[in-house]
Every structure is written in structure tokens, then in C-alpha cells.
């Protein structure tokens, strides 16, 4: 049967070149566009090392405190003390890392003043390396003891190690960070700045006191601490967010004259729409839906006019005993082949566009600051989920575009079909 369908299809392609070309072109363009959007969202939100826990992580916001009575003495930022009170011992959290809110994260790095230049430095704790999964070439992640002692110790990337020391075997050597000597305790494989939360050139230990602002101001609320919270495996992020909100309420009840505001965001929220969308995946789904509907209407219209040309063929087949279902299946299959041809070309086109316009589509503050570290690992494009997505989108286009015209043709009576009505 399938062979018969293919034969029929070959014949149809030759007899309807214009329709087939338009249909394939429309599908190509649609799949390319939809896949670009899908890949932009997927590359940024899927769990991929070193950001292997994107789906389970919440990031604290900047934090904001003010004098409750008249909203004066407003300050942005969160102290380590406030963060610990809010995020410490959360029931739904597996781990909480307290880091310095990175911002631009720039520091002056080198082995002396001649080779020193601006690099990205992240002050973190030991838990950070449980949330982000780095590939250690030598040394080890910060231990709890190191984190507690807050000595001048650093983990650097192999790229920095090679640039400054011509070797990756540099554990135990010293590096200058903002003119102070730090001892290197680990070397990790550098990652792409596409992983903007994990990306850094160097990691140092965040001093707890350094994350607190002056104690005498605003009840010690302002500071430069950021909490990264990893949810337990069986807990959803909304439940964790609710627990944190409850904690913030309790925390505010204990404050005397000040109010503290803090909003956590998911990984996807932190990446798309400037934290404004409650669920960026829904915005993407709606956008993809719109992009699928318009060409589907288009193909439906063209298919309907094509079907009228084939009324006689359908009528004859029906007269010889073909069931409505068989006819429907055949027409859907024919359209599906066209859709898949368009889908494959569309996927190739989307890959080319992503590679050519990656700065326009995927860049952010980190990719710009990190300069040449912004690259797209090949493995991103060869995830099974990318191919499954193309397949699913093709099926959706096929069903949306062909269902009504095929339904109409297969339901028309033999007499009407033969009469061409």
C-alpha cells in the first residue's frame, strides 16, 4: 500500500509542480522559523552541563529594602544575613548557594601588571559546584572547609591557565586578582558563555562579610548576595517559590522599621522577557502556534483548490469500493510527504540561520562581556529532542492544513464528486 502511495505521489509531484513547490516552500519557511524559536528556547533552558539543573533552579532577585513609614532610604541589594534568614533550611530545597551577585563580574587578572586584563570573576561558595556541573581537569571544587575559611583561593578555566601559564597543570600556582595573590586550587574546562549563569573565567570564594552591607544601615538588609536555590527532585518550583514567599513574609514580620522585598525567578524567566513573563514557555508556545496557524490556513486553501481537481479520481476510487478512511489516509499521507520534505529543508535552513545569526538570536550581557567565548557546541544541534520537535511540528502542520480539505473530499458523495461539486 505504502509503495502504491509513493508511486501516486511521484506522479502527483510531476502533475502539480506549482502546488507542490508552494506547499514545500511554505513548510520549509515555517519549520525553519519555528525551529529557530524552538532552538533559541531549548538551548537556553534545557538541562545541559554545566547548567545541568536549569529546570530545578531558582535565582534570587536583587532585593530591595526601604523605610516602611515613608518609603525613604530605599536600597537595592540583599545582604548575606538577609539571604541566610530567607533561604536557609528550606524544606523544598536540596541545596542553596550564596554567591556575590555577579553583575558584570569583571576584575583585573594576570600574573603581573604587564599581562593583567579585565576578566570575569565569580565569588561563590562550595554549594555552587553542586548546582553547576563543571568538568575538572585538575584539582577539585571548593570544599565546605575552603568556603568557610574564605582564603584567597581560586579555580580557573583551562583557557586562562593556558593563556597565563602555557599549561593546564597549574594547581598550587598563584594568580593576581585585583592585585592580590590567590592560590589556584582547581582547573576546569571552559564552557561557552551561552551558559550565562555558569560562565566565568575564574571562581573565588565569596567572603560572607563581604556580601553584607554596612550593618548600621537599613537593619543590615542591603548587600550584594545572590542565592541560587536547587529544588528537591520531587518538588516543583512553584511549591519552592511559595515556601520562599512565606519565609519573606515571616522575615518582614521580624524587621523593626524596614521592609524587604525579594522575588525569585526560574532559569527561563531570568533569560527571556526581562523577568516579566510568568512562564516564558507559554509565550513561546503561543508564538509558535501563531506561526504554525498562518501557513496552515495558506496550505489548506491551496489544498482545497487542488482537491477540486482530483474529485473525479476520488469519485472513481470510491465507486470501486475505497472507504472514506482509506481515501483520507492517502491524501493525508501525500500531504505528509510534502510536509516532511519541507521539514527537512526547513531544519537545515534553521541550523544555518542560528549559526549565522547567533549573536542576534542568542546573545546577552554575558556573551558580550565574555567576547570570543560565545560558541554553540555541536552537541546542542544533535539532541534527539531537536529531531523529535521537527517531526512533531511537521505532523501538526500536516494535520492543521490537510484535515479540513481531506475531510471535505472524503465525505463528499460519489455522485457529487463525479459531478465535481
Amino acid at each position: 500500500m505504502i509503495r502504491q502511495y509513493f508511486k501516486q505521489f511521484k506522479h502527483l509531484w510531476a502533475s502539480n509542480r506549482v502546488f507542490n513547490s508552494i506547499s514545500v516552500l511554505a513548510t520549509t519557511f515555517t519549520i525553519a522559523f519555528v525551529m529557530i524559536l524552538y532552538m533559541v528556547y531549548s538551548f537556553r533552558t534545557k538541562n545541559i552541563a554545566p547548567e545541568s539543573n536549569r529546570s530545578r533552579v531558582l535565582y534570587s532577585g536583587t532585593g530591595y529594602s526601604y523605610f516602611t513609614k515613608d518609603h525613604s532610604q530605599a536600597n537595592s541589594g540583599m545582604s548575606y544575613k538577609a539571604a541566610k534568614a530567607i533561604f536557609g533550611n528550606l524544606q523544598n530545597a536540596e541545596a542553596v548557594s550564596y554567591c556575590v551577585a555577579k553583575g558584570e563580574g569583571a576584575a583585573y587578572i594576570g600574573t603581573g601588571s604587564s599581562d593583567s586584563e579585565k576578566r570575569i570573576v565569580s565569588p561563590v561558595d562550595d554549594v555552587y559546584f553542586r548546582i553547576f556541573e563543571f568538568d575538572f581537569i585538575s584539582g577539585h571544587p571548593f570544599t565546605a572547609e575552603q568556603s568557610e575559611a574564605a582564603r584567597r583561593e581560586a579555580i580557573i578555566t583551562d583557557k586562562i591557565a593556558l593563556k597565563l601559564f602555557n599549561s593546564t597543570d597549574v594547581t598550587g600556582k598563584n594568580i593576581l586578582i585585583d592585585f592580590y595573590d590567590y592560590r589556584i586550587t582547581g582547573v576546569v574546562k571552559a564552557c561557552s558563555s551561552l551558559f550565562n549563569k555558569a560562565y566565568s573565567d575564574i571562581w573565588i570564594i565569596a567572603g560572607k562579610e563581604d556580601m553584607n552591607g554596612p550593618h548600621q544601615y537599613s537593619e543590615g538588609l542591603p548587600g550584594n548576595c545572590q542565592a541560587i536555590v536547587l529544588a528537591k527532585r520531587n518538588v516543583g518550583l512553584p511549591a519552592l517559590q511559595k515556601e520562599i514567599e512565606k519565609r519573606i513574609e515571616l522575615f518582614n514580620e521580624e524587621l523593626q522599621e524596614f521592609t524587604f522585598e525579594q522575588h525569585t525567578v526560574t532559569h527561563a524567566q531570568s533569560i527571556f522577557f526581562g523577568n516579566k513573563a510568568s512562564d516564558p514557555s507559554k509565550v513561546f508556545a503561543v508564538l509558535i502556534g501563531i506561526l504554525l496557524i498562518v501557513p496552515a490556513i495558506n496550505i489548506s486553501g491551496l489544498l482545497s483548490s487542488q482537491m477540486r481537481k482530483r474529485n473525479e479520481e476520488v469519485g472513481i476510487r470510491k465507486a470501486y469500493g475505497a472507504a472514506n478512511r482509506q481515501i483520507g489516509e492517502q491524501l493525508l499521507f501525500e500531504n505528509l510527504i510534502l510536509t516532511f520534505i519541507g521539514g527537512i529543508i526547513g531544519l537545515a535552513l534553521s541550523l544555518i540561520v542560528i549559526l549565522l545569526f547567533k549573536n542576534m538570536l542568542l546573545s546577552d550581557l554575558m556573551t558580550i562581556n565574555a567576547g570570543d567565548a560565545f560558541r554553540l557546541p555541536v552537541s546542542l544541534f544533535f539532541q534527539p529532542v531537536v529531531f523529535i520537535a521537527v517531526f512533531v511540528f511537521c505532523l501538526i502542520i500536516n494535520l492543521m492544513s490537510a484535515m479540513i480539505p481531506v475531510w471535505n473530499v472524503s465525505r463528499t458523495s460519489i455522485i457529487d464528486t463525479m459531478k465535481g461539486e
Binding site: T30, Y180, F272, P295, I297, N298, S304, S305, F357, D364
Partner: protein, 416 residues
């Protein structure tokens, strides 16, 4: 011809439903996209109040291991302020540099705002976005002045000079003309200011709104505890692609004066690019532009396909039309008019939907950068119609030309 085309469309209405639906949906969606880009263009045409083209930003760092004796004004002057001023002089003397200034506070393309409340009397305080600047600031940023300027202001004495933007002048004095008038810091009433100039409206980035700004002198006490940013205006002829890197290469060691060192040197154009990327506008513009191209291409294919098949089934009619004297050009125009009627038939309900959406404020403006108005609605509708008409005309060209080339005898014979 129009009446006939309309009749024909009505007769074939069943086969035109799909294309009508498509044009209806796309007209609405395209209007949203056009509206977004309309705001982008309008915001880009709006003056920022300062000119950052050919301006570079020198960020200094201070080596914490170099001791500074802050217990005496003379040592602060010698160890901190003098090295800073020397660096400013050196940068000013760099080949190709037109002017250099140092400043602190709210910078262009930066949302780290520094704000303060200002008042004329005790009743009302008004927010002002602060820029502490040296006297040359207006030469570097070419501040768009309404009256007065930076040259006449008092530094290190009370009342301090201040240049306020029109918005702040309006709030404080209920007039945009405020030369010589005085006001004070709301939280520190002894800190008095005298208006030495009023600037035109100011915004800190292209897509922001006009905000109340205040420029006050970067006085010595403030300079003693801050590392200012140094802005450098470069002559247009000297502002080549590699200027920043060349500056870093030539000046990195020379600017190691006192505790200071060259931390970063970039253009404000780059800072604008970084800022736009951080706010997401760059990505939005590329996605929306892509969506517009996508819709137009799909409409183009839809019109092309629909008319191609229509003409195939209407060959005898076209043949007859030509047999009774219709010219090729006439046939061509006939199909153009038929396609445009099709568009306007779908556009009427689309327009009603758009007008309702605008009326009920179901519109989107990036970061509320611009007020919604009916003028904006009409202009964006007009652009939508023009774009749709253009693409529909482009789509119908090939089928219409094909129709105009039909030989009447052959077409009529096919029918026979």
C-alpha cells in the same frame, strides 16, 4: 472593472474563504509587528539630549594595595586627585581626541541611576537623576541646551551651579525657563543650587522616556572618594575601527599613575549595544522583523497559489474576455483589482478588530516607551495596508501575467 471583479469574487467565494481568512489573520498580526517597529523607529528619531557618537568611555581601576593617606586633604590631593587629573590631561592630549571630561552618576545607556529629591520650598520634592560632571562635559557629550550652559557655574561654593533638564525645571519652577533661579536638596536643605543652564529633554537610552535630569559640578570633596569615568570625544576623522584597541595599547602603561590603572576602554556605541542586548530590544527587533518577513512570504505564496489555480480554472472566461476586446493590460489590471478587493474585504473586519484592540488597550509597547495614541493607530494601520498591498500585488504579478498571455482561441477551444 472593480464591480465585475467583486462579482467574480462573490461567485467564487467558497474557494476564497481560506485566503480571506489568512489575509484577515495576517492583517491583525502584522499590525502588531508594524506597531512595535513604529515605536522603535520613533524612539530612534527622538533626540536623547546628549550626543554619544564618537565618544569613548575610559574606566579606571584603583590598586587597593597602593596606600592612600586619607587623613589629610593635602595627601588626598597628591595621592588621589592629582593622579586622576593627570590621567584626564593625558587622555585629552592623545592624538585625535577633541575633548575629555570626568563624571560620576547616571551614565548614558546604563540603568544604574543615581537619584535625589529636589525642592524649592518644603511642600513638594521632585526626583532628579544626577550626573556629577566636570566643566568639559558639554564639550564631550554636546549637551543640547535650551538656555545658559556649564561654563558659568560655581564649583566648590554655595549655591552650587546646576544645569537642569526641561522636565526638572518645569517641576520645580512650573516653567522651562529657569535661569538664575535657586532650589535645594530636599534631604539636605543646606545644599543650595542656582540654575546656570536648562537643557533640552533628556533620556538615558534610546528606548527610555524623558526624565528629569540634573547636572552639578563634580566638586573636590566628591572627587576625593570616587573613581570617576572619563569620557573622551574623538574627532570623527580619527574615530577608526581600531581606535579603542590602539588607545589601550598606547596608553595602558602610561595611565598607571598613583593607584590608578586602565581597566576598560570602549565606545558609547558599544555600551549602547550592550545595554540594548541586556534589555532584550535587539532580540525583539530581530524576531519581530523575522516574523514580518515570515508573514509576508506566506501571504505572497498564498496569493500566488490561489490566483494561479483560479486562473487555471478560469481560462475560458479569460479567453472570452479577450475575444470580446479586452487587452492583455486589461486582464492584468483586472486580476490586480480582484486581489486588492480580496484584501480589502478581509481588511475591513481586521480593521474593526484592531480598532477594538486599540480601544480596549490590548496593545504592547516595549517597556512602555511611548504613549498609545490614535495618531499612532492610524499611522500603523496605514503602514500595514501599504505593506499588505505591496506584497499582494507582488504575489499576483506572476499569475496575472500568465493570464494575460492566454491565447483566446486556445482557451475557448479548451472549453469547447
Amino acid at each position: 472593472m472593480w464591480k465585475l471583479a467583486f462579482k467574480q469574487l462573490w461567485k467564487n467565494r467558497k474557494s476564497n474563504y481560506w485566503i480571506l481568512t489568512e489575509l484577515f489573520v495576517v492583517s491583525i498580526l502584522l499590525w502588531y509587528c508594524v506597531d512595535f517597529l513604529y515605536v522603535v523607529v520613533r524612539k530612534n528619531l527622538e533626540p536623547m539630549g546628549v550626543d554619544t557618537e564618537h565618544v569613548y568611555r575610559l574606566k579606571l581601576g584603583a590598586n587597593p594595595t597602593v596606600p592612600i593617606n586619607r587623613s589629610h586633604p593635602d595627601s588626598i590631593q597628591a595621592q588621589w586627585i592629582d593622579p586622576l587629573l593627570q590621567i584626564v590631561r593625558l587622555t585629552e592630549a592623545y592624538p585625535g581626541v577633541e575633548a575629555a571630561a570626568y563624571y560620576y552618576g547616571t551614565e548614558p545607556y546604563d540603568d544604574n541611576w543615581m537619584m535625589q529629591g529636589y525642592a524649592v520650598n518644603e511642600e513638594n520634592a521632585y526626583r532628579g537623576i544626577i550626573r556629577y560632571v566636570s566643566g568639559n562635559y558639554d564639550k564631550v557629550f554636546k549637551v543640547d541646551m535650551r538656555e545658559g550652559g556649564f561654563a558659568d557655574w560655581h564649583i566648590n561654593q554655595t549655591p552650587q551651579g546646576a544645569v537642569v533638564s526641561e522636565e526638572l525645571a518645569d517641576s520645580l519652577f512650573h516653567s522651562r525657563s529657569a535661569m538664575g533661579k535657586t532650589f535645594h536638596d530636599h534631604y539636605e536643605p543646606s545644599l543650595n543650587f542656582k540654575v546656570s543652564g536648562v537643557s533640552r529633554s533628556m533620556k538615558y537610552d534610546v528606548y527610555g522616556r524623558y526624565e528629569p535630569f540634573i547636572y552639578t559640578p563634580f566638586n573636590t570633596p566628591r572627587l576625593a572618594y570616587t573613581i570617576p569615568v572619563i569620557g573622551i570625544r574623538v574627532k570623527a576623522s580619527a574615530d577608526t575601527h581600531g581606535f579603542a584597541q590602539q588607545f589601550i595599547n598606547n596608553m595602558k602603561s602610561k595611565l598607571n599613575i598613583g593607584p590608578f590603572y586602565l581597566f576598560n576602554f570602549t565606545s558609547y556605541d558599544f555600551k549602547a549595544e550592550v545595554y540594548d542586548t541586556a534589555t532584550g530590544i535587539t532580540k525583539y527587533i530581530s524576531v519581530i522583523s523575522g516574523v514580518i518577513v515570515f508573514f509576508l512570504f506566506i501571504v505572497f505564496l498564498g496569493i500566488l497559489g490561489t490566483f494561479w489555480f483560479t486562473i487555471e480554472t478560469r481560462r475560458p472566461e479569460i479567453g472570452l474576455r479577450m475575444a470580446v476586446g479586452s487587452t492583455r493590460r486589461g486582464v492584468l489590471y483586472y486580476f490586480f483589482s480582484e486581489s486588492l478587493i480580496l484584501f480589502f474585504l478581509s481588511f475591513i473586519p481586521a480593521f474593526i478588530v484592531c480598532a477594538s484592540l486599540a480601544y480596549w488597550d490590548v496593545t504592547y509597547t516595549f517597556n512602555d516607551a511611548m504613549d498609545y495614541s490614535w495618531i499612532r493607530f492610524w499611522q500603523t494601520q496605514l503602514f500595514t495596508v501599504l505593506i499588505m498591498t505591496g506584497i499582494i500585488t507582488a504575489g499576483v504579478i506572476a499569475p496575472a501575467r500568465r493570464a494575460s498571455r492566454i491565447h483566446p482561441v486556445e482557451a475557448l477551444r479548451e472549453n469547447g
